[in-house]
Symmetry: C2
Subunit: 343 residues, 2 copies
DNA sequence: GCTTGATATGTTTACGTCAACATTTTGGCG
DNA sequence: CGCCAAAATGTTGACGTAAACATATCAAGC
């Protein structure tokens, strides 16, 4: 039968019927073999399997999804997932989902500012997904996401925390460790290069930095703000580097720390002899900066795994899952960019 | 009706029938509105749309896929897609697919060495995809991928090139530019830190490096081999740095260049005064290394777009697409890590 | 060999959608 | 007003699968 004759449909592979005919059994028996279930005599099973192999049969997922009402697919909503942290989380999500026999469909949001999230949410309902993982939905607010009711969801750091089951890294602990480490080295104050204002983790890191200083009676200096990119770190760094009073900079992520370090180098200020720098995230390259970057490591892999766990939990027990956050520890990794201030 | 009563299926949203009933039309009319097609009187259309909104109707994608024989989904097969190059390509693939109204499903391969690709290919046939994009399938060979016949495919740099429609960056041109740049600066020879032996792009870069040297009568020195990671660059770099004859290193990617530069710094060899370093890829952070890394930029975004284009081409015209490769230019970006050799 | 209870297999049906075909309504024109 | 083509809407059926139910086959005990 030609492709055209089939009412405009694209050709599909051999069906369960074809296998049944060849194996001399009913379609249902083939289905039983295919789902691995139930009681099928070994001889029959072998015949069916042989027929499957011969025809190159593979179950039609659309039909299965329609029949079962589930797709075996999780949606992954993110923007800028080419960033290291997002990419690592994503990787873990895919792995964890695979362990649960689910695949992952990427849902991109190009410009979250311009109603991108709404559009993504709109498209969502048209997607074939059983659950949704949202990572770093920075500009998204609970209202802006008109999510289908009953769709299992888990979110990572973002404003959505508290509205959905969520997984967060311990921003506070990590930021405290970073600031206190610098103070313990003898720095009179610590400057902060924050992430964008609409980012929840950025706000948390900045607030913690401020509190840590105030707790020891230091009035926090002017806060600098970047957009997570190394380029923004560089352009801010050029300004920061001109202030001789600056001896310690806590950057809200590693990329910006790279930018800052380049700016410092260009201004002839040595790291760590003249200025100490701390990053956040613990990306692979942070270890291979010159000198290696002191940073706060987040376990992105575990974040991804936990996100999937939360979604699968909702998927399996219809019951609602606690909206409390799962908090994962962070860890200060002291390397070569921090030292006591110049005498 | 309760969820349980529905024969164990998970609940699905309102169906086309529900909308039809509420709007007082037939299901087919709702379908027409939903597909945007055909002739529906404005008044009728409005009634249907209102009913859709009221019920929060969204077409069931599984049913649509079953009916149409297509899923509106592309598969993206990769391993280590947390790497910068892969992540950027992926991002472009998702964007381009979205422009074609397709979503992207991630297919991970954990350990390509141990029959990972076969498994991935196996799972593939169980996936609900209309086409497949393979990026950097390093260990995969055409034979190891028992891909469903007739599945539109496009591959990026890998051994699969030549077997499927493919998109590659111009490794040769980029590598030539890098090596010749170093020679032009006056270096007596150029060392090479290659990628893993089973990588096609790595082999191409190494071969081009070798040829460029031989063409000007230089006998290529020992080749060093890493695994793309910064850590491998570092450990190789520690050995390379001990050889005082080394004044120029062409690294097969930027991450390894970072590792090499840290190793050089630890050994007290200055970049670029004592040793020049060139990377490959042009990742964001390369610009913010200290000093900024001279590298060969690849347009990952364009690679991703082209991959999708090739798949969509096959999807639309049943005709087979040329298996010739689409070659995209690369560009040497000279920054701060290259200089004439020490006198 | 016959009954019985278990185990293996077959038959029917519905999942939600949309192409094809059938039917009704609309509007233009004599 | 009535006729007819064109436009709008309705009816039917099939896509491939698997649950529910129905039937057939089997092994064991008497």
């Amino acid at each position: 039968m030609s492709v055209e004759s089939r009412r405009g449909r694209r050709k599909t592979g051999p069906s369960i019927e074809d296998v049944a005919r060849l194996a001399g059994v009913s379609a249902q028996t083939v289905s039983r073999v295919s789902t691995g279930a139930d009681s099928v005599r070994p001889a029959t099973r072998a015949r069916v399997v042989a027929a499957m192999d011969q025809l190159g049969y593979a179950p039609n997922r659309a039909a299965r999804a329609l029949r079962n009402g589930s797709f075996g697919t999780l949606g992954l909503l993110a923007h800028r997932f080419e960033r290291t942290g997002e990419a690592l989380t994503m990787k873990a999500v895919v792995e964890a989902a695979k362990a649960e026999n689910h695949s992952v469909t990427l849902l991109d949001v190009d410009d979250p500012r311009a109603d991108g999230w709404e559009h993504a949410a709109q498209r969502l309902s048209h997607q074939a997904i059983d659950g949704l993982v949202i990572i770093r939905a920075e500009q998204a607010t609970p209202d802006s996401l008109a999510l289908p009711a009953g769709l299992p969801i888990a979110v990572s750091d973002s404003r959505l925390v508290g509205y959905y089951p969520c997984v967060v890294a311990d921003q506070v602990q990590g930021s405290e460790a970073a600031v206190r480490h610098l103070l313990a080295l003898g720095h009179r104050t610590v400057h902060h290069l924050a992430g964008p204002a609409d980012s929840d983790p950025a706000a948390l890191r900045a607030a913690t930095w401020q509190r840590c200083l105030e707790e020891v009676g230091i009035r926090p200096p002017q806060l600098w703000r970047g957009d997570w990119s190394a380029a923004s770190g560089y352009s801010m760094g050029r300004q920061i580097a001109d202030d001789p009073a600056v001896t310690a900079i806590f950057c809200a992520n590693d990329e910006m720390a790279f930018g800052v370090m380049r700016a410092l180098a260009e201004r002839g200020r040595r790291v760590p002899e003249d200025v100490s720098v701390v990053g956040f995230d613990g990306i692979e390259l942070s270890e291979f900066a010159t000198p290696p970057l002191t940073t706060v490591r987040q376990d992105f892999h575990r974040i991804g795994r936990e996100l999937v766990r939360l979604v699968m939990l909702q998927l399996q027990s219809q019951a609602a899952v606690s909206r409390d956050r799962v908090v994962l520890p962070t860890e200060l990794v002291v390397r070569g960019t921090t030292a006591p201030p110049p005498a």
